[in-house]
């Protein structure tokens, strides 16, 4: 507790960022570069987490937590696996049409849990692949190979196929049943999916696909904040791990005199305001305890607490103000708001450390905690272990706040720039 109060902002962030980075060293398979979805025993690899890991290695190298050579070696073994694994779309393959199945066996790299070929998770993986290709720019054999493989992986993705004949991209595909028959509805984390799809030199998405996706956008005034609404915080973050949207606007945002960066800032403020109002009377909620996102929860149970029946969820996308909300906070989502609303994020982090010390284990934040659930300490229920997406989000958003490293790297990538321009974005660093 004292430690947190006496630390400077830089010391505090360094401690949490490094602890989160540790996840990717612990959960890494040196044989194929895959990284486990969670730290729980038997967890498979998640391709999105692998993408986060590929983006984190440059951060680790830059901050001196691992050597550049180590970081490059980790990236290379991953890219070799991604390039050389089975891409025939069979039930036990690794991917199809350049995309990857959501969950893979940590050892064999084969599809597990009959998971879908996930477009968004493949794109988060790809963002990491491109980030590695941008960072490792030296003329060593290892780094030359990283760049070549990163480019090859991007070029082979068949974005046109992934529309399944529709105007917009599908959410996924399964060998057993074909395309999942639901698409994206409303603003979501998929902006980066369209940006990279539009920029593809080999199988680009048509110009109109991004506009077609945006038809479901809803500009709302909630608690006197005007924003492009989406409930869970991760939606406002994921594309912006890699793309700096400050001042970069599409037609929609120009008409609203805003941008996606500002929009995420407002989304954070709406979340905090929701927690202050705390309409469902959950324990702990307040100015410094907020953050509803996609994260772990106590599980599908109903308990009677203080005379009220409370229904709890397991892993779920929680959102404010429409819900679902079961009193579970994602501390990682609160901390990851750092680039958008640093004043709120830092205040929340210090509050988590002082009020719920049992939840902050070795400077690493869990996927969720729920003070309403009767537990051993004030934090109530605390998620076991750690989730790769949470830890990656913390590493990368702290880094963007501290040095803009990821944003500066992707600015140099022609694919990001041309994708944004084809989607109709102008201004900011695109000018």
């Amino acid at each position: 507790m004292t430690e947190t109060q006496n630390e400077t902002e830089g010391q505090l962030l360094d401690r949490f960022q490094r602890a989160a980075f540790g996840y990717f060293l612990e959960q890494f398979n040196p044989e194929n570069g895959l990284v486990a979805d969670t730290s729980r025993a038997g967890a498979p690899a998640s391709i999105a987490v692998v993408g986060f890991a590929l983006s984190c290695y440059p951060v680790g190298a830059q901050r001196g937590w691992i050597t550049r050579a180590d970081a490059a070696a980790r990236a290379l073994v991953t890219l070799r696996f991604l390039c050389d694994s089975r891409q025939d779309g069979q039930a036990e393959a690794t991917g199809y049409k350049g995309f990857y199945f959501h969950f893979l066996d940590m050892k064999t790299g084969k599809r597990v849990w009959e998971s879908e070929l996930s477009l968004i998770d493949s794109t988060l993986l790809l963002a990491g692949v491109l980030t590695a290709g941008l960072y490792f720019s030296e003329q060593t054999p290892c780094e030359i190979e990283i760049r070549a493989r990163a480019d090859a992986l991007y070029r082979r993705i068949d974005w046109q196929w992934a529309r399944g004949g529709a105007a917009t991209l599908r959410q996924g595909w399964k060998p057993e049943s074909g395309f999942l028959h639901y698409g994206w509805d409303g603003y979501s984390e998929a902006t980066i999916l369209y940006v990279l799809g539009l920029a593809s030199p080999s199988h680009p998405l048509p110009h109109g696909s991004f506009q077609a996706w945006k038809v479901t956008y809803q500009w709302e005034n909630i608690y006197d904040y005007e924003l492009l609404y989406a409930g869970p915080l991760f939606i406002h973050y994921f594309s912006q791990i890699w793309i700096d949207f400050d001042g970069v606007r599409d037609r929609f945002m120009r008409a609203k005199d805003s941008d996606y960066f500002e929009n995420s800032r407002r989304a954070v403020y709406v979340q905090r305001e929701y927690a202050r109002r705390n309409p469902h009377g959950f324990e702990g909620y307040g100015s410094d305890c907020w953050g509803l996102s996609a994260n772990d929860g106590p599980g599908g149970k109903t308990l009677k607490i203080a005379g009220l029946e409370r229904r709890f969820l397991g892993y779920a996308a929680r959102g404010a103000p429409y819900g679902p909300d079961d009193g579970t906070i994602s501390p990682c989502a609160a901390l990851a708001s750092l680039p958008f609303a640093p004043e709120l994020a830092l205040s929340a982090l210090r509050h988590f450390c002082t009020r719920y010390p049992e939840m902050v284990r070795e400077s690493r934040l869990p996927s969720g905690f729920n003070p309403t659930w009767p537990g051993r300490g004030p934090a109530g229920w605390v998620s076991d272990g750690y989730f790769g997406l949470d830890q990656g989000l913390v590493v990368l958003m702290i880094e963007n706040y501290r040095s803009r490293l990821i944003w500066n790297l992707t600015r140099r990538c022609p694919y990001f720039g041309s994708g944004l321009r084809r989607a109709g974005f102008t201004g900011g660093w695109l000018s």
């Binding site: 038809v215 709302e220 006197d224």
Partner: protein, 506 residues
Amino acid sequence: MKPDHSPQVSPDARNRRELVQHARPPDWRNPSPAEKYHLAVVGAGPGGIAGARAAAALGAKVALIERDLIGGDRLNVGCVPSKAIIRTARLYADMRDAVDLGGVRPSDTDVVFSMVMERMRRIQGRLSQADSASRLSEAGIDVYFGEARFSGAERLTVAGEVLRFGKALIATGARASTPSIPGLAEAGYLTNESVFNLTECPRRLLVIGGGPLGCELAQAFCRFGARVIIAQDDPMFLPKEERDAAQILSEALARDGVEIHLNTKVVAVRKEATQKLVDLECDGDRFSIAVDEILAGIGRTPNVENMNLEVAGVRYDTEAGVYVDDYLRTSNRRIYAAGDVCLEYKFTHAAVASARIAVKNALFLGRRRLSALTIPWCTYTDPEIAHVGMYVREAREKLIPVSTFTILMHDVDRAVTDGEDEGFVKLHVRQGSDQILGATVVARHAGEMINGLSLAISSGIGLRTVARVIHTYPTQAEAIKMAADAYRRTRLTPLLRSLCRRWLAW
């Protein structure tokens, strides 16, 4: 024509008698046809009755023909019976939640299903009086019972009599669609028409379809103690509604205990002893469940068959219904249509409104357009979900810039005091103006709240005016004024604020 899949039919005799006495008196004698009717109306549901009454009130000679019971779906198998049982279901939910409301949960909250259904039939009987055959007859309408068949462009036959007409109105409504699921017909299933004939609450009920009907009845039967499973082919309930509304409903159904399977298709049904085994499929994964009854709530099919519409030169489609233009005129200029048989939105109030337009256009050279109507609708789940006007998506497809002003019911005092603080009011406004394009309300009494917004939209009243209207405090409808106030606050530009400050300082 209507397949009867009802498994247990034993309606309460006394109440049923009263309903039948009004809706189809056993001793009824069809009148002798007039030489020629100004208007012949086929179908005595809400649309047909409204059209016939409107024409008769203006002095027209009117024939009204019904093949079954007067009142149509609304009275007999639709809104009236469903809302009656939903009221009882809410009572049980309130008893369940008594502690949350500061009360004591009653010791005996067992559901006596026969009492639920008896009350429903009593209400049907009572509401059938207003438009009984004799009352319609007293209003100057010639009421015929029998199948109507067109025998030419200007005449039709009913019960062996030929009726000549100047104009005709087809208002035959729609019926529950038949799902094409292998084994379902053989195993037997309920529809909105047969579900109200149940004499016992099923122990396990599968509801196919997460549209308004499926969601309303799934929640009601769950509150009566059935284990209810709902399978919805789409990834959300109420696919036509706003995502956030569907999200809140999803939460509410789950809290009631409904087992939800979204994005799930029913692929086969088979009967085994007294139960029904149902195969479900979700993204390639197949699994089976066992239930006692299946309710299919997957849509409505217009009643266009057996009327010889071809003889009358009326074009139609068995799925879309009778084709009409914006004046509700069919391909035969003498024949109009109204209500479920021709409209996309199959609501009682839409049937009534369209029938009135059709009558004015048919008999009085009217030029009123269907597209000019502002039609609200409501799904009567708990909370209710009501909508009027445009959705944001529609506005954006038409390139209309739109902003939404949202008030959460948890910020509305009366909603909090009533323990009904779930939901929201969303007003969709043309950006840069105060014109209300549309609105969605999710609240326990959303159906009541939406009416003020329908009035505003149809009268062209903007948010500035709504903000000036004094609303009674405390009421849940105050949420609408709060949304208007939120709009007004956005008009306070920095320049205006600065001018105000200077004025006050001066």
